[in-house]
Symmetry: C2
Subunit: 308 residues, 2 copies
């Protein structure tokens, strides 16, 4: 039983953790967005990889959704006192990951080798693959030009008016194992991550879209939108900027042709007909994964629904 | 009134702070050892420069003698959990300095430019000069070969049997301003730092020894040894390894010809005659600088003694 899930940060990591808790060790492969990666004071930060690593290692701050539970921010405060901008919140424990990743990359390891080393050291019985080892970056197009994703997402708190997104490095090679994992999967999942800036970049990696299209097994998406807004983050604003309706149906439209199954929140049953008309089977259930239990329950429910 | 002081870490920083507190702003220039510098997980750490910066910025942990007061060690703990050695204790606040220094060096600034930027950002009204911008490193020779200074000092807690020390980069160029500062000083001070591994490397920088010899103003040393042992650290062991007596007289012998005045502890008055026979005037007073007040008092006492 091989399960592959595409994931961005917070939303995607929830279902990764749910799947990880119910599947036998070694069954799960996460293919993770790297288009939000950036350099911060000379350190290579991979926010979505870190969120996946921390979630599966049991280190996550479930309330905040990013970083390590109980982390402190004393380095950041010292940096601020030294006159440096401190808008990107790097925790002290979190920093160990960035320092090691940067060192290992400088020593010549690829991002996927670095990630495998972290997975190993954190005793995670799953495979976490960065979508690519090459430079793939999201740029946000706005009336004044373009800005890097973290500037939009963290510094501007997604209040910038978005005209579109651009992917630098589109068509880059997948990391070794990405296409094989998709091809050999018994179940393929797209997590409730931001479709535009978390999942779409992964679909711009060479061969990924074709590998998914070729799958005979079920391809299940989970909506990051409940009612008329995103569970968290700028998914709503970005879908709207690209001309999609801000609803689970808008997300299903975004993935039209790619997915065979779609999971929406139980309060959105009025959308079932529209999503089914896109050629997808629909499950309406509780998709708010606040607790660890609710993550495992949703994962279990999806497996039962799709595989039976 | 221009005062120049040579300094290593903990001991030297005490008299730096004492001088800084009693002198008019802008009067003090510290020339600081860099032979203990090393790379740690890709970060450039300058322990003695940091100790001087933190002391003059009022950030020091006076009890511990290194690092920043009230600092936490959460990054280090996370690094340990990731399976990395954690014998060099880097605090979370302290880390901001290493991250910025490494970034600025990578951007092409010299170590002295980086240090000036820190001095400026920390609003320190003194000049702190690394002895050299080139690579000058202390290696400890022992029966089995050589080891880097931090390995001897921190990892082995100076328990290795020492046969000698070697300075990689001996004869390197001084940083701009070092020789001029010495030449123009009204008072020249050698702090109570380790003579062998803190002050001696500075004396291996091209032109420094000659500039000191050429001075007509007073050249004052403060003993790091009280009775038969060092106030802190391995100064006693290293002096003994090089064949010097472990006493204030042994230190005076080490600096013989270089200094005109020497300050010893009030309990070491039996050594006055021997030190005077080396051609130095001697002041015996309380040289244990535990409190901020005692640092300023000793600095004041030295100024009165030498300049009146």
């Amino acid at each position: 039983m091989k399960v592959v899930a595409l994931s961005g940060g917070v939303g995607g990591a929830k279902i990764l953790l749910g799947l990880y808790r119910i599947l036998p060790p070694g069954s799960l492969t996460a293919i993770v967005n790297v288009a939000d990666d950036f350099e911060w004071h000379g350190l290579h930060i991979s926010p979505d990889l870190d969120t996946a690593l921390y979630a599966l290692a049991g280190l996550s701050d479930y309330g905040r959704g990013w970083g390590i539970a109980g982390d402190t921010f004393n380095m950041l405060e010292a940096l601020r006192l030294l006159g440096e901008p401190s808008w990107f919140a790097v925790g002290d424990r979190d920093l160990a990951t960035h320092i090691l990743r940067t060192r290992w990359l400088a020593e010549g390891l690829s991002l996927s080798e670095v990630t495998a080393r972290f997975t190993d050291r954190l005793r995670i019985a799953a495979t976490i693959l960065p979508a690519t080892n090459e430079t793939l970056r999201t740029w946000i197009r706005h009336p004044g030009g373009v800005m890097a994703f973290q500037e939009y997402f963290v510094l501007n708190r997604w209040q910038t008016e978005v005209e579109g997104v651009e992917f630098q490095g589109s068509g880059c090679d997948p990391t070794p194992g990405v296409l094989q994992a998709i091809e050999q999967s018994d179940l393929f999942v797209v997590g409730p991550s931001n479709p535009v800036v978390s999942i779409w970049p992964i679909l711009h990696v060479k061969g990924v879209r074709d590998a998914i299209y070729s799958l005979r097994s079920a391809r299940v998406g989970i909506s990051p939108i409940v009612g008329g807004s995103a569970v968290s983050g700028p998914a709503g604003k970005l879908l709207k900027a690209l001309g999609y309706q801000v609803s689970a149906a808008g997300v299903a439209q975004f993935y039209s042709g790619l997915l065979t199954h779609f999971v929406i929140h139980r309060t959105d049953t009025d959308l079932v007909g529209r999503i089914e008309s896109l050629g997808m089977r629909v499950l309406a259930t509780d998709i708010i994964m606040g607790s660890l239990e609710s993550k495992a329950r949703l994962a279990e429910e999806i497996l039962q629904w799709v595989l039976n």
